[in-house]
Symmetry: C2
Subunit: 100 residues, 2 copies
């Protein structure tokens, strides 16, 4: 498995229209054929010092292997998402993990 | 869905025995009944400035809902893991996400 988890911080989190645009963009990614599991999230209401809850959206994508992840990275749908939405976020943090 | 993703930084990453103990501890968690999906990971070899790859292990747990996550948090298996292994890590970062 290849687990790709992306956390997004919005530039203007109080701008509802921008938030909606990013969510729409994230949803568009689901059509990429090599994705096995997808979850588009927002912070849960858990709150302990070790919990990072400052992000605005999370995108969890699980692929069968790295090759499928690489296909996603250069996929036209992903490229369009970055083009359309990258101006909306101020920060992105990515964690990529493979089987231990 | 409730997505619980934990990233661990080992206190002594060069100590193979400690690494193995943490991995064993992480594997023990898989028996908790409320977990739907589990992935124990290590950083992939992807490497871009936005990618955080300094951690040593990741633990992705997907639950059907927050209630199932809460059950896990107080489960004896989880408590034993924290007891046995918390001395091994120097840092833990958790991201909890619910459906956007």
């Amino acid at each position: 498995m290849f687990v790709h988890h992306v956390y997004f911080w919005l530039k203007n989190p109080e701008a509802a229209a921008e938030k909606a645009r990013l969510l729409e963009g994230l949803k568009s990614l689901q059509t990429v054929e090599t994705i096995r599991t997808v979850h588009i999230g927002v912070p849960a209401d858990t709150d302990r010092p070790v919990i990072e809850r400052g992000y605005h959206f999370s995108l969890l994508l699980i692929f069968d292997n790295k090759e499928d992840h690489d296909t996603y990275q250069v996929h036209p749908v992903h490229k369009k998402f970055v083009e359309d939405c990258s101006s909306l976020w101020s920060k992105v943090v990515i964690y990529d993990a493979v089987d231990a």
